[in-house]
């Protein structure tokens, strides 16, 4: 996984609350394989109308949002279904960071597992950032080491669980670490088989 350090990029305001993962990627696109890519599915039914035409008023369709790598939204972003494809769709469209007052827990974990930063800010800071982005400051700098977001000459603190911060900063993959711990897992299994013999499914 690519380590996350400082990101300076175009930022897009999505002034909506409770943008669930069903909206980030509707269920009918979940049959795709990872290799096919999920970029075209991102916010599909919000972005395009029934005829497949771009809705001009959807924030991601605006010219100034093109190439955005940072998304700012209202509370409860990524609620709902555990579909990791929501994160794939964001990343395949170029996003590296989502800023919001709160995130669905599973979405946030999925994000960190793929190197996408879920940065938590206060509700009032989110509102101020949304206003700033919409008033002609369409870019932001996100510094994971300092825990700061800068837009124009304003700067905002964000929080992220320290465990996740370390993981993102180092680009760690849990799997590599765990496979080096096979011995410990085997030991646990052996002890457990005596302590809870009813566990097996035969």
């Amino acid at each position: 996984m690519k380590p996350f350090d400082i990101l300076h990029a175009t930022a897009c305001a999505l002034p909506l609350a409770s943008v669930d993962t069903d909206r980030i990627i509707p269920a009918r696109f979940l049959k795709r394989s990872r290799a096919e890519g999920y970029g075209p599915c991102l916010f599909h039914d919000m972005r395009l109308d029934e005829n497949g035409e771009k809705r001009p008023d959807f924030p991601l369709n605006r010219p100034e949002a093109q190439g955005a790598e940072i998304l700012v939204a209202r509370r409860n972003f990524g609620a709902g279904s555990s579909r990791e494809a929501a994160v794939y769709a964001l990343m395949d469209s170029g996003f590296r960071c989502v800023i919001a007052p709160s995130f669905g827990d599973i979405f946030a974990a999925n994000s960190v597992n793929n190197g996408l930063l879920p940065a938590k800010v206060s509700e009032s800071d989110a509102e101020e950032m949304l206003a700033l982005l919409e008033s002609g400051h369409p870019s932001a700098t996100v510094d994971l080491k300092d825990g700061l977001i800068r837009i124009g000459n304003r700067s905002f603190a964000f929080t992220i669980d320290p465990i996740w911060r370390t993981k993102l900063l180092n680009g760690w993959d849990d799997l590599d670490l765990t496979t080096s711990l096979t011995h410990e897992v085997t030991e646990f299994e052996t002890e457990d088989a005596t302590a809870r013999p009813w566990l097996t499914l035969g």
């Binding site: 409770s18 409860n76 609620a79 990791e84 799997l175 711990l181």
Partner: protein
């Protein structure tokens, strides 16, 4: 003296394999359920040329893409057949036990786990599905995970987790007649918000929770995720043990005795600390329905849709406006005046036998004014319902009685509502487009959905109960 611990702490502590310096802990996973959607994780495994570490603790279930109307192999749409076949192949090549499309025990993953005795108190259980919280009804530490984590569990039978905070939701007193676990859950979510329990593991307690059957507890824990919680649990008791005993995969005889002795310890110590506590009064719970596009947009059936102009918080007001526009509702409109186009009774939230009985109780001797689909949670639930004659009640009322699967909860198998259609649904999510592009969902209990079918609008089912009593 050891420190007092919660139910959650006890199960968590018993599963820690090791701890790393950043504070996250490697948990051993006792049960791993996979479904058609888990193919992304299996693909990762193939990429690494790796094997499943504990196929014996992994169970496959076909539910998300299965057809509910015609299971004839020639009739299944090719893209659905491909998803189902993919799961078959992934399970077969890894030696994983599978409840596939044609298995007589097939059903929704969160229904058949408990039904088959795969779900037991004190276990850790994960699945690549957010409603895995359902299994917490047994005093099981059960939570949903994403594809990367599914791959991690397949490979290592473990998962790195940071310990969530603990929250206790106490519901005391008796529920009024006609209300159920669904109404408790929707009332709670309306009160704390769809992100109110984020980062927390909920334990449900109190006399109203104790009085719930296993079916009711499953519904309650199922909806924990809609409050943002990591998981929801109920401490196991005699109701739990009676349900577990005799299930196909539950321990038997001596092993059961041993397990019971262990399970009886699984309660929160009297003075264990919770990070947060909330209390609901059972007597104040009313039949509750959602009017908006998030499960937190829920109100008692006799209330009116909110008016965004009367809401001070700009973010909330804008959410209400967005919701009313999508749902085609007027500010201040009484909820009972909302006309319904179709009904869906099913999903891992409300498709167990008790749910079907409660819907049938309202529908018996009545006609549905609108079309609707009843999809039992498993093939075995379907059989039992047919033995009890419930299918005949649904059919006589004019509803469709179909096979088991996720169906209209998520529409992946093609069971969807059309754009603009308004569906009274016993499911768990009223998100925009969840039941099909442009479809409008109102969440409610099975009895309330049945009442909506009878009148063609959202209806306080207690009126129909009173009519029956006359």
């Amino acid at each position: 003296m050891t420190e007092p611990r919660t139910l959650f702490d006890k199960i968590w502590d018993a599963h820690v394999v090791t701890r790393r310096e950043d504070g996250s802990e490697l948990l051993f996973i006792d049960r791993h359920l996979v479904h058609e959607g888990s193919f992304l994780a299996f693909d990762k495994l193939k990429e690494k040329r790796a094997k499943v570490r504990r196929p014996d603790l992994t169970v496959g279930v076909a539910d998300h893409y299965v057809p509910t109307r015609n299971r004839d192999s020639n009739a299944i749409a090719p893209e659905l057949a491909r998803m189902i076949r993919q799961l078959d192949e992934n399970c077969r090549s890894n030696g994983i036990r599978l409840f596939g499309l044609t298995d007589p025990r097939q059903g929704i993953v969160h229904v058949i786990g408990p039904e088959q005795g795969l779900t037991l108190p004190g276990l850790t259980l994960v699945c690549g599905d957010s409603h895995t919280s359902t299994h917490g009804a047994f005093g099981t530490l059960a939570f949903g995970i994403g594809a990367s984590e599914v791959a991690h569990v397949l490979l290592t039978q473990c998962l790195w987790q940071k310990k969530p905070k603990k929250m206790r939701v106490t519901v005391d007193g008796a529920l009024p007649p006609g209300t159920s676990a669904k109404d408790i859950a929707l009332s709670m979510i309306a009160r704390i918000g769809a992100d109110g329990a984020q980062g927390h593991a909920i334990e449900y307690a109190g006399s109203a929770v104790r009085a719930l059957s296993m079916e009711g507890r499953l519904t309650l824990c199922n909806l924990s995720i809609e409050s943002g919680a990591r998981c929801g649990m109920v401490a196991p008791d005699e109701t739990t043990f009676a349900y577990v005993e005799g299930r196909p995969f539950a321990p038997k005889d001596g092993l059961l005795e041993q397990a019971l002795a262990h399970w009886r310890q699984l309660t929160s110590d009297a003075d264990a600390a919770f990070d947060r506590e909330i209390t609901l009064r059972g007597a104040e719970i009313a039949p509750t329905v959602t009017w908006g596009i998030s499960p937190e947009d829920a109100l008692p059936v006799n209330a009116s849709v909110p008016d965004p102009n009367a809401v001070a918080d700009p973010s909330r007001a804008s959410h209400i406006r967005e919701a009313l526009a999508y749902m085609g509702l007027d500010p201040g409109q009484p909820i009972e005046t909302i006309a319904i186009d179709r009904v869906f009774i099913g999903s891992c939230t409300n498709s167990r036998i008790e749910d079907l009985r409660s819907a049938a109780g309202i529908l018996a001797g009545r006609q549905a004014k609108i079309p609707g689909l009843v999809s039992p949670g498993s093939h075995l639930v379907k059989q039992q319902a047919e033995q009890e004659g419930l299918d005949r009640i649904f059919l006589a009322a004019g509803l469709e009685w179909v096979d088991s699967g996720c169906s209209m909860c998520v529409g992946m198998n093609g069971d969807i509502a059309s754009p603009g259609q308004r569906c009274a649904s016993t499911t768990n999510r009223n998100f925009k487009g969840r039941q099909g592009p442009g479809a409008r969902t109102h969440l409610m209990s099975p009895a309330m959905a049945a009442a909506a079918a009878v009148t063609g609008r959202i209806t306080d089912m207690r009126e129909l109960l009173r009519e029956q009593a006359r």
